[in-house]
Symmetry: D3
Subunit: 226 residues, 6 copies
């Protein structure tokens, strides 16, 4: 299978060797089993730190976005070097470069591409360009919930939904918005729909069960494009 | 003033020397008067021709977008060479490269940047990055209409509107949608709003009156960001 | 075998899915049989359209050539994406880049390289750099004729000739010149001679019979370097 | 004057708007007075964070250095954007690129260049390449001390010294070593000596007095190459 | 005036400081007087040395040409650094890069561009691209002769000739061929003719009299394109 | 095994086909036996020639180093083309580019990287980045001697030594310094020590016995890092 793995910036904020070891082992196993993998990393706390300093000094929005993008590329280089031997040893800086390097047969790790574009959109574009079987969003919750699980103890995980449902959830429920929005912004959803990309939302603590989650044997959400 | 001029692909489809001469004279005059100018060109018929051939052969959406982007860059090179002496002699291929070249003090001409991103969005990003006074959308109608002027003889041009009004027009009126949509997609509007960019919609046949249109002395529409 | 396939710009002007499907199938078959292939595409009508607009506005010859080169690269990107999976996913812009990418083992598709240099010369340089067994010129006639077949009903195809004979045909017969000249200009012939490159001229409608033409079983012309 | 300003990574660790405002004002003033400025930024805490994560996962020394270099480039981009208008808008990644961009007449901000090379060495190379009048090391102490001021209350600042004296201080006094070593490693000293570059060590809290420090009117150390 | 100066490889073979000092002073003076200058350097003995070693080991013609091109770029870097302050500090590797850098307003020094292309052709292309007033070929003889001055004591310098005459000289007189051929190969002449570029042939020992030679006051040959 | 082979510039100065043939055969054999190889070439006489000319004209040290680096890259291109088929066809210009290209599985040939950095340091960095089993220094003597073998007939080759011993030899014995110093400067030794790289010093006349030398069956010196 061709898999695109989007790793939330929060993954890096935990500065946890354990997280990184699980990721390393998972990618190694996927490659051994013959899958092809691309990884997109978010910017996390490093991005927020630099954006905050820049904003206080009056830096404009496009340049602030670039600071966030460079922070996400730093995360991408960390993964590139940790996975050394499996990975292409340069982080591509736009989709054209990604497409060129993908042909090397190596795991490509990328951060952000362009201002005004989330890393979720980057992951959707990458999925479209390579014809990915799944776009996997690895984050710090177990999937998509009907309410924000941080505030509602009765929030329920939705194991299967389509993009229309996802968009309604985003529109109707303010409280859910903030948390879920980072998963998929409107442009990412548009790309997912136009190219019929299947999306999995899962917890990065369960990366070792990634294939079971895809097969529906473990907790996670599957989003079907309309 | 700092001006970003987005030229519709239709401008090039007319293959009109007269269009090109007016454009050349206008840019020369703006530079002489001390303004700084960036130009973003659409893809037009050349883009559609290559996308059509690619689609018939099963090329994926990301790669089709790239064909359109390369066509828009061909239009951008045409303008670059016609304006030789005023222009930076390479068409930037992403926002980071644009930002770098902008410092040369020359007119920068660019086409598309990335799949999943309209040239209107490119123009909005460029406007944000340089802090443009106006983003000017030069197209084949005189401005934004309350109805599609191709079908309704009583369609009225709206001389001033805000982005909220623009979005309502786009949502409510199906017939207007197609035509206007190419002007500004949701991502472009989001960027315009977050950085408070003033937008002018005008006819590329009236490029020689561009400053009068900005001053409200000639026909066109001014969009105020909310 | 190592084959360099030069595709005339006319191939693209026909905007024919059938042409493209035959090309795709042929390249796939050649790869399956273990051959290595490089493709050089001409600029065709797209090149002429942009050169015409530029010339009317006083663009200089070097820049007009660049417009033609960018048009040929657009054709090259179309083939690159259609042949996706077999091809290196970036069109090289000069011989040094071509040489670097050739080592990837993928089909490399290229357009023009430099002003003052025909795509036939590009194809000859590419053939020399990789030590091609054959440089194949796929065009809209069946081979080299003793007279221009568009004007003379008794024109005869020359199945075998050497470069000295080719040059005489080009010098003596004005009517043949125009048509044949586009096949091989003097610089291309010089490179063919210095590196003893065998050349085939054939009709792009018969691409599926390319190996039979090389073996002399189908209609085409073989040019032997002196 | 041509000045190279090396900013310690600690400057960024303080995440202080005040620090950044003083730096911005200082650079603006230097440019207004006709000086030419290059800036080299260290990696600081961001570098250490990523190097620590990489080391725990067994990343090799060359790749760990690259993580530090990318962190220092992130600091360099922050300064580039804060000083937007004065700066060249791309951070060069090696000396050849720096030399090329320096000709733009803009302030060039750079981070690290190569593994096995400190940012002090980068600053020395940059100073040599442009023939800098002064290489200024802005750090979190007031200059070079005879003992480590963090441990010895009687440590005395040395207002003037030559590189031979500096090397002896580094060799003889273990306690001083660590702190001072980051200022100038042996390779940086070698470059300073071969090209006779004058060096100033000063506190980044006093950047607004940079010209007074150069003139010896304010606290700092001047190192004369042998 | 816009001047393109092609320096023969023999200039560098003499390893003469005097040659280099005269060149430096000349360029400085031309810039001071407001002229714009591009320089193209040949490969000379360094090129021949590497081509000889490569040929003995069976390197193909395209790669041998690249060795010669890299040698000419080394000569170009020598000039770039000697003229530091006046020059753009990177040697462009193809015409597109040259065109981009020319806009910097600096003296651009270039070596060869592409295999199968002489540095005379490079100089012609550069002249065409910038609309040069004169292409000056500085070599080790005083101009174009009716016979080879190395063998015929009665050889006469031709002060004015057109490209038709030049071509006849090249065709009819074998003995002149070798020496003159390096000045202008057929492709270079074709470019000179299509863009009507005026050419001066002069001795590099007389670089300090370059403007007098252009004005016809000193010894040299002027070639008028047909 | 992973081997980094540093070829002294003197190897190229001999302009000997025999040297080159032995090198070619050796690399071919190493690849056939499954080893992975990177090559770093020195600058030799070509470097000295250009540095001398530059120095006479007042070129600064950083730019002189660049002339030497470009000369070493010319040597690297010669090897790249001679080994065509085995090699990656572009010479990387810095460590980041080397690391990226190394993943191609081809032999990478590189010259110098940065001013202020010897090609020995380049070779040490490359060895560290790829985790080389051996860094082999091929020069014009048989190994490390206790005295300079050019002046002392009783100089003895040291078959095994550690880096501490090497440094003492360098410090204590002036006469040895010059000759050995070019092998390993302090920065190269620092990198060798921090990454525990095993080093072999051997004569490039004996390249065909390289594996025997590694196994201690032939004359050469092994340096063990401390």
């Amino acid at each position: 299978m061709k898999l695109v793995l989007k790793i939330s910036g929060k993954f890096f904020d935990e500065e946890s060797s354990e997280n990184l070891i699980v990721l390393k082992d998972t990618i190694q196993r996927l490659i051994n089993e013959g899958h092809k993998v691309a990884i997109v990393s978010g910017g996390g706390a490093t991005a927020r730190k630099y954006i905050k300093m820049g904003r206080e000094l009056g830096v404009n929005e496009a340049h602030l976005d670039l600071l966030g993008i460079w922070a996400s590329r730093l995360n991408a280089y960390l993964l590139t070097f940790i996975l050394s031997g499996l990975t292409y040893m340069k982080v591509p800086e736009n989709l054209e470069e990604f497409i060129e390097k993908w042909e090397s047969g190596k795991v490509i790790v990328t951060g952000g591409f362009q201002p005004g574009q989330s890393t979720a959109t980057v992951a959707a574009l990458v999925s479209e360009a390579i014809g990915a079987d799944y776009l996997i969003l690895a984050t710090n919750v177990d999937g998509v919930y009907d309410k924000d699980p941080r505030y509602y103890s009765d929030a329920k995980l939705i194991p299967k939904l389509d993009t229309e449902t996802l968009k309604k959830v985003l529109e109707n429920s303010q409280s859910v918005k903030a948390g879920t929005y980072e998963l998929l912004d409107p442009l990412a959803i548009k790309i997912i729909e136009r190219s019929k990309i299947k999306v999995i939302v899962m917890n990065y603590k369960k990366l070792d069960k990634i294939l079971d989650i895809i097969r529906g044997k473990e907790i996670g959400s599957v989003i079907q494009p309309m």
